[in-house]
């Protein structure tokens, strides 16, 4: 028997377990998934928790529910990958052998890396919403908050779901308007980027939205430290922004065990080929989703599109053939803009988000790079699709390659 070992049962790992169980004959291949947590979080839902739109029940389910029959699960932390000998060492002393390894360990926030961020105001006036605990603590804070300076700050890139901080700012505007206290809340969006977003066309649209919603934009701000006494965030150049409530998107890194294994870059993201998804260190190791050092968004849609490519290339590898699939960097996200509207963007390594229709030209139904109510419903509907179709790798009508059909370029 041969062993396919998957590290991580998040979005990427779960989809791969489902896909590969269909592809690989049971009498030849064992599939084992290792994860330290038994709970699967629907991470896009964290955005809604601080505002009271989603609760715990909306975003958590047991990981086991999504793993197919014929896949073993081991709920343990791993310490190290022994790349040389094709083994994974678990913290409880167990050793798992593999013929092929898929790394799907995701990314995590490391607020402790920024001086003062996890200081005395942590979860009192300083919150993250990239963890369930942070999002829930912030929901509690907002219930009784009387207003002041609300600062949304990204410490530095890369971060998971690069549009989520913008969505948070848009939602905060709508939320405090609904509460009749928008005049008491000054919202600032403080980013290391030189504009609201990265690529010119989307940055312009989203920058305009910030302005319309009366949200201050502070750019080129690289977070150095947080002064808990003065309640200010500082950048390395000495600039300060005062806050009464700081919503931080802390620095991100890969799994600590990746760095211990010699597979990662300086931030613990696995070095891998951005097209084939194979590790650059060892040929029987492959990487999917946030765990990789891919120059793509760290987002569920990326893991989903990569899964098609990876499944095909794994079969090539097993059959000793050259790789036939190539990941193009396709990414797709709904950006909630508040008041029941949203924007949809679709792009890849080479093409920036463009206006048009998605997924079909002319009929859409989703307009690209434009505010619309239907994009908001797309986002809400997506939670159902995620739990019922995407994780289990059922048929889904969207190609893993980006298409120019429906898009308008200059």
């Amino acid at each position: 028997m041969k062993n396919l070992l998957i590290l991580g049962a998040g979005t990427g790992g779960t989809i791969m377990a489902n896909k590969m169980r269909k592809e690989l004959p049971r009498e030849e291949w064992n599939i084992t998934v290792v994860d330290q947590n038994k709970t699967h979080y629907y991470q896009p839902g964290f955005l809604f928790i601080p505002f009271g739109y989603y609760t715990k029940e909306d975003v958590i389910k047991p990981k086991k529910n999504f793993l197919p029959k014929g896949v073993d699960s081991v709920f343990q932390q791993f310490e190290r990958i022994d790349v040389e000998n094709n083994k994974v060492l678990l913290t409880n002393g167990e050793v798992l052998n593999y013929d092929i390894l898929i790394i799907a360990t995701g990314t995590r926030i490391i607020p402790e890396e920024t001086p003062g961020l996890k200081g005395e105001l942590w979860y009192k006036n300083v919150f993250d919403f990239y963890t369930f605990e942070g999002a829930e603590a912030l929901a509690g804070f907002f219930k009784t908050w009387k207003g002041g300076n609300l600062v949304v700050n990204i410490a530095d890139n890369p971060i998971k779901c690069p549009v989520a901080p913008l969505e948070f700012a848009f939602y905060a505007d709508a939320f405090f308007s609904d509460k009749g206290m928008r005049d008491k809340v000054k919202i600032s969006y403080v980013t290391p980027l030189s504009g609201a977003f990265t690529k010119p066309k989307s940055s312009k649209l989203l920058g305009n939205l910030l302005e319309t919603k009366n949200i201050d934009l502070v750019t080129d701000f690289f977070l150095s430290d947080v002064d808990n006494q003065k309640k200010v965030i500082k950048d390395f150049g000495g600039r300060e922004v005062p806050f009464d409530c700081l919503v931080t998107i802390p620095l991100h890194s890969g799994d600590a065990a990746i760095s211990n294994s010699g597979l990662g870059d300086e931030f613990g993201f696995v070095r891998a080929d951005k097209h084939t998804l194979q590790s650059v260190v060892k040929e029987n190791i492959f990487v999917i989703g946030d765990a990789g050092n891919y120059p793509a968004s760290k987002a569920g849609s990326v893991a989903h599109f990569q899964s098609e490519i990876l499944a095909e290339n794994l079969m090539c590898y097993i059959e000793n053939k050259p790789f036939t699939a190539k990941y193009d960097g396709h990414s797709n996200c709904y950006i909630e803009t508040g008041y029941g509207k949203g924007v949809l963007i679709d792009f890849n390594y080479d093409t920036e988000p463009l206006p048009g229709k998605f997924p079909f030209a002319v009929i859409g139904p989703f307009p690209l790079l434009k505010e619309s109510w239907i994009n908001h419903y797309g986002k809400l509907l997506f939670r159902w699709i995620y739990w019922h179709i995407l994780l289990k790798s059922r048929w889904f009508p969207i190609s893993s390659h980006m298409t120019m059909s429906g898009k308008k370029s200059d």
Partner: protein, 103 residues
Amino acid sequence: MAQKIYAGKTVDVNEEGYFTTPSQWNREIAAEIAKEEGIVLTDQHFAIMEFLRNKFLAGETLSIRSINHSGVIDVKTFYQLFPGAPLKKATKIAGIPKPASCI
């Protein structure tokens, strides 16, 4: 595509003055671009620029965070060497494209 003359050599630049052909760069050119930015280059400047160039040529993403891992200087010193917007200035003087986040 625009061109500029530095230290007697014609180089290709984009509309913001960033090199589009990093191989056209040398130390004399760097010193002239630095002068435009009001910076006099020291060995420390060159050491961190070499780190940035190597990283860029290896196809890796450049970020402020990565400076702390350079083994050359920390971020605070980076800000002192290239005041204001250090990563933008340093890449311009180092003859490589302006770092773009890949999202």
